[in-house]
């Protein structure tokens, strides 16, 4: 009896070891490819929030070329932003800052583009999350992202937030957007993470501007 139990444990252990090994090996072989795909995806997201049209089906090399012509990456003090330029590659059209924070189920990653005066939102997009498909997962849908387009960035009141999420259909003011029905947890988390990212990045971008660095 006891021998049977020990066998079960050893058997399960060896089998797990074997399969984990195979899976890790296959992942390792493809890691570089996946990293490149992720990079292209990020570049597409940055171009999208800046309002630069990249038709679906565009070749990866072309995406990379457009990105290289129109976007410059700036880093400092642990922060990363992207500067977007007009088609001539000279006139600044906006800054892209990363949105990051805990969601309802896992971390949520996004990007937000704002105009050079730091007053208006050009676009917003979320590209990685673990929210429930059809509920919280709707943060990646066009109607949700569109709500932010052109909104004025009003400095929040004491302890207030840049954007407040209202019950669906009731958002009116410049700093209000519709939350997602059935996804209160995700809505609250996104409200918090947008606010936190803006409060972190806006003063920093203004500082960099004043110093003539961006």
């Amino acid at each position: 009896m006891i021998r049977k139990r020990i066998f079960s444990v050893v058997y399960m252990f060896l089998l797990t070891f074997f399969f984990t090994g195979i899976v890790s090996g296959i992942y390792e072989i493809n890691r570089e490819r996946i990293a490149i795909n992720e990079e292209i995806k990020l570049q597409k997201i940055i171009l999208k929030v800046l309002g630069v049209q990249v038709p679906p089906g565009t070749l990866d090399a072309r995406v990379r070329q457009i990105f290289g012509d129109r976007v410059k990456r700036e880093t400092g003090q642990g922060r990363t932003i992207y500067r977007g330029f007009a088609e001539d590659g000279k006139a600044l059209i906006g800054y892209v800052l990363p949105l990051f924070g805990p969601g309802f189920w896992g971390p949520i990653y996004g990007m937000m583009a704002i105009d050079p005066q730091l007053e208006r939102v050009i676009g917003i997009a979320f590209y990685r999350h673990n929210e429930t498909p059809g509920l919280g997962g709707r943060i990646t849908e066009a109607w949700f992202e569109k709500q932010f387009k052109g909104k004025t960035l009003l400095p929040p009141e004491q302890e207030g937030r840049y954007f407040s999420f209202r019950p669906p259909g009731t958002a009116k003011a410049q700093n209000e957007v519709d939350a997602i029905t059935g996804a209160t947890g995700t809505s609250k988390a996104v409200e918090r993470l947008i606010d936190r990212s803006l409060k972190d990045y806006l003063p920093w971008i203004a500082e960099q501007q004043a110093a003539g660095r961006v």
């Binding site: 058997y11 089998l15 797990t16 498909p133």
Partner: protein, 209 residues
């Protein structure tokens, strides 16, 4: 002997694809049947992924059937299924990133697809490798066949396209509902209804007699 094996394989295949079709006979795998059937290309990839996972899991479970202790077999099956699903997921991320994106969590959710564990438990655990292989391919094909049929009508009516190519005449108005989840319910319901009324009488009626 060879003839017998071939006959048996054919029987297993026919039962997996039609007589005991996982979707419209056993009503398994409905979640993904509803979720990934609005574009044929996504459905095709999902179907192929499932065929791969169910076949390989069946084969592996069958190979290990005599040494796997019965008490821990579910754990072993889950481990095997999860490994193959992750392999598919990695492969899609590396070579078909757009489709991987579109399928989103549904590839990972193949792990919980009842068809696979159902076949491992009901068939592979008690059969040799070759029949298990055939059974896996058959069940996978049965699933893929139903999903593709549903996706065919949903994409045709919802987008006016097939595999992304325009096929409907100029004046065609897209039925938006076909693209949305309710469209999947209507299509799946209609499909099961038609297939069941075409086929021989079900077990329920035979039992009533």
């Amino acid at each position: 002997m060879i003839v017998m094996v071939e006959l048996k394989s054919r029987k297993i295949f026919a039962s997996g694809v039609w007589k005991e079709n996982p979707v419209f006979r056993q009503i398994l795998g409905i979640c993904s049947a509803l979720a990934v059937t609005n574009l044929l290309i996504n459905t095709l990839i999902m179907g192929l992924s499932l065929i791969f996972v169910v076949t390989m899991s069946n084969v592996t479970v069958s190979i290990l059937r005599s040494i796997t202790p019965t008490r821990i077999r579910m754990m072993v099956q889950t481990l095997i299924i999860a490994s193959y699903v992750i392999i598919v997921d990695v492969f899609l991320k590396a070579y078909l990133p757009d489709i991987s994106e579109a399928l989103g969590p549904y590839v990972g959710l193949i792990i919980t697809n009842c068809i696979i564990m159902g076949r491992c438990e009901a068939f592979a655990r008690n059969n040799t490798v070759w029949p298990s292989f055939v059974d896996g391919v058959a069940s996978g094909c049965g699933y893929a066949f139903v999903l593709l049929t549903i996706a065919f009508f949903r994409e045709l009516m919802g987008f006016g396209t097939l595999f992304g190519m325009d096929v409907m005449p100029g004046g065609w108005t897209n039925w938006i509902i076909m693209v949305m989840p309710p469209g999947a319910f209507f299509m799946l319901g209609a499909f099961i209804w038609i297939v069941r009324s075409l086929g021989p009488r079900g077990e329920e009626e035979e039992l009533k007699k």
